[in-house]
């Protein structure tokens, strides 16, 4: 159990990533596929955050005297995650707008029916 306890966030992060990947590979509805992408994104963000996380840590600011730098949470992953979230949102927005346009063109969201391009 100690493994689980020590690595809860990592397990959750990879769980999210794999669920997302499964959705992308197995689901035929485009909206679901996009949701799957979003899962993958969230998983990766969680992974990044948990790398810098220290249990019971404080914000990396010397806001009051007596804070040990050793107990500070690493700020860089948080900065990275902010960027990654922004990118993720952009991709998601683009994906959804493409899905809307596709629905207007094809009248369906079934990926099996949107197969004009192959070979």
């Amino acid at each position: 159990m100690s493994f689980l306890n020590a690595n809860t966030y990592y397990i959750a992060a990879f769980g999210l990533i794999f669920i997302g990947l499964y959705i992308v590979m197995a689901k035929k509805n485009l909206v679901k596929v996009v949701i799957g992408l979003s899962f993958v994104d969230s998983g990766i963000n969680l992974l990044l955050i948990s790398i810098g996380y220290i249990k019971g840590g404080t914000a990396p600011i010397f806001s009051r005297p007596g804070i040990s730098p050793l107990k500070m949470v690493d700020p860089i992953p948080q900065a990275l995650v902010l960027t990654a979230i922004v990118i993720g949102v952009a991709v998601l927005a683009l994906a959804l707008s493409l899905v809307v346009k596709l629905y207007q063109q094809y009248g369906t969201l079934d990926i099996r029916k949107i197969r004009g391009l192959k070979w």
Binding site: L21, L117, K118
Partner: protein, 616 residues
């Protein structure tokens, strides 16, 4: 005048011709002819010169041009045929489309062939070789229709050849860290026979394809027959001989005669295997040629067979054989070009080259007939034509070398040659003149002129074979062959000399005797055709088809045995490759899920291979 200047003139002139053509077609024609004549003059002035100079630096390697007698001999043949076929083109190509392009390509191919023979290192050889290949491709495709398939076949085989060349060239570089032919030649003597053999085999693929050595010949019949006739003359006359040049370079210059003789022994030597291939190249194509009904196709297959003689002579590798092969290369260049031009002239006037529908053209084009006759005699190897001398040298080599099988094949091939040469003469010129060709005229001057020059060469070299043989002897000696006792009338050797003056006088005497007999005999009565030709019955005024299906009995005998198996095999192979390619792209199914799965699969494979099996 340096070699660089020559190439600059040749390539620059080609582009200048193209640009001039946009202004005025007449000026373009004049410039094209002038250019080839200037090149011919320059090359002729190079006679006897030797030397090497580097002309540019490419990727850190010095590209060099070198001249010696060997390259001069090929260059003069290139330049001569280049100018003659350009002159021939003047009227043959008149009124066709895209002439600027035609002349540009013609001149570029000509220039690149000069580049090939003058290149002193393997890179510039390859560069000019490739320029020649794509130029040829564009010219073969020029006639549209079936020419497209022919062009594609040519270029694909050509790329296969250059692939082999690249591998050979770089494996030489990897061992000797130089591309210079002379440098490699001086260092190669220490190489192991196995290595030399692999390099030679790679080069043989390249040159064998260009030279149309069976089983690499399949591009040639289509390409030669579909190309415009002046270019067919170049193609058959000199372009495929670049393969011959390559063989000489790789066998006798790069590897050298001494190292070559150590490559295997007896039947299993490189020499002998090449000679066997050459013999097959003589035998099968000769009889395939016999069965063709398209005059240019006959000549195309004949080219393959004749090239077999050249390679046979060169492959045997005695000084006599080498001289015979080299001489036959010159001769084939002259008479095959002449024949292609003559057929071109007939096609120009009649619009067809189908042997089954032509006939009796001799009445309308007697001059062309004479030219075809001389060409055909040269092809057969009739005494007093140059073909006789070179074939004599080759037979003699084979007999002296105690190769009865090869000698038999060579003689048997000549018998076949007589049959198809006669078929061409007969089916086009003899027999009844079909109604639609009643208005046919003799070929124009610009076609006659190159044909006359070529026929003069054929006769001249037949009576005075010493002229080219002396040059060939110099080449042979420089490559390490024994010197031959060449004189202007022929060649002396311990087992019987060739002396054309004797033959010439013998034939002259017999002609005089025959002429006298005919003179003494009562003159025969001239019988009109209607008189007793059809035993009094009605003679159709249209076509009396006795030239169609010529040699039908022979066909019946040889047809089951004479099949171009190789071509069938290549075509099946190409079909299989196409099907395989078609199946490959079905991997891209259009299913998004599977695409994502490919990505994850790659990741999984990468990690398992490393961590699970620790493969690398």
């Amino acid at each position: 005048m340096s070699l660089e200047m020559l190439l600059v003139i040749a390539f620059g002139g080609a582009f200048l011709t193209y640009l001039l053509g946009k202004l005025s077609p007449v000026l373009r024609d004049i410039l094209a002819v002038l250019l080839t004549l200037v090149i011919l003059a320059i090359v002729a002035l190079f006679y006897g010169r030797t030397g090497e100079s580097s002309f540019m630096n490419f990727l850190g390697f010095n590209l060099s041009l070198r001249i010696n007698t060997l390259s001069w001999l090929f260059a003069i043949a290139v330049a001569t045929l280049g100018s003659l076929s350009t002159i021939f083109s003047l009227s043959y190509m008149k009124g066709k489309e895209r002439l600027d392009f035609y002349y540009l390509m013609m001149l570029i191919v000509n220039a690149s062939m000069l580049g090939i023979v003058f290149s002193g290192d393997l890179i510039s050889f390859y560069v000019f070789w490739e320029i020649m290949s794509w130029g040829t491709f564009l010219l073969i495709s020029y006639n549209r229709g079936p020419a497209l398939a022919a062009g594609l076949k040519y270029i694909v085989m050509s790329i296969v050849g250059s692939t082999a060349y690249l591998l050979g060239m770089f494996s030489l570089y990897a061992s000797y860290s130089t591309f210079n032919i002379a440098d490699i030649a001086s260092r190669i003597s220490t190489a192991s026979p196995g290595y030399l053999l692999s390099v030679l085999v790679l080069f043989s693929i390249t040159f064998g394809i260009k030279n149309a050595l069976v089983p690499l010949h399949t591009w040639l019949p289509d390409a030669h027959s579909e190309a415009p006739s002046p270019f067919s003359a170049v193609l058959s006359g000199i372009l495929i001989k670049m393969g011959t040049y390559g063989f000489v370079i790789s066998m006798y210059v790069l590897v050298g005669i001494k190292a070559l003789s150590h490559l295997g022994h007896g039947i299993l030597s490189f020499h002998f295997m090449l000679a066997i291939l050459a013999a097959v190249t003589i035998l099968v194509p000769t009889f395939i040629a016999l069965m063709q009904d398209d005059a240019k196709r006959v000549l195309a297959w004949s080219s393959i067979a004749q090239v077999g003689y050249i390679i046979l002579g060169i492959a045997i590798g005695t000084s006599l054989g080498f001289a015979g092969g080299m001489f036959h290369f010159l001769n084939h260049a002259s008479f095959k070009a002449l024949l292609f031009m003559a057929i071109g002239a007939v096609e120009y006037r009649t619009g067809t080259r189908d042997l089954n529908s032509l006939g009796g053209i001799i009445k309308k084009m007697p001059f062309t007939f004479m030219m075809t006759l001389i060409g055909a005699l040269g092809l057969i190897g009739f005494p007093l034509t140059n073909g006789f001398v070179s074939k004599w040298l080759i037979y003699k080599t084979l007999i002296l070398g105690k190769d009865p099988f090869l000698a038999f094949v060579a003689l048997f091939g000549t018998w076949g040659t007589i049959l198809y040469a006669y078929k061409i003469l007969h089916n086009i010129f003899m027999g009844q003149l079909p109604e639609e060709y009643k208005g046919v005229e003799e070929a124009p001057f610009s076609m006659k002129f190159p044909m006359v020059i070529l026929s003069i060469i054929i006769i001249l070299f037949g009576i005075l074979p010493g002229i080219p043989l002396k040059v060939i002897n110099v080449i042979g000696v420089s490559l390490g062959f024994k010197s031959l006792a060449v004189n202007i009338w022929g060649i002396a050797s311990d087992t019987g000399a060739l002396n054309t003056i004797n033959i010439f006088s013998a034939i002259l005497v017999s002609w005089i005797v025959v002429w006298l007999i005919f003179k003494a005999a009562p003159t025969s009565l001239r019988v009109e055709q209607d008189n007793n030709y059809a035993a009094g019955s009605y003679v159709p005024t249209g076509r009396y088809l006795y030239t169609a299906n010529f040699y039908a009995p022979v066909y019946r005998i040889i047809k089951p045995y004479v099949i171009d198996v190789v071509d069938i095999f290549y075509m099946a192979l190409a079909g299989a490759v196409r099907t395989l390619c078609d199946w490959t792209r079905r991997m891209y199914t259009g299913e998004l899920g599977s695409y994502v799965m490919y990505i994850m699969l790659f990741l999984a494979v990468l990690i398992t291979m490393r961590l699970g099996f620790n493969i690398w």
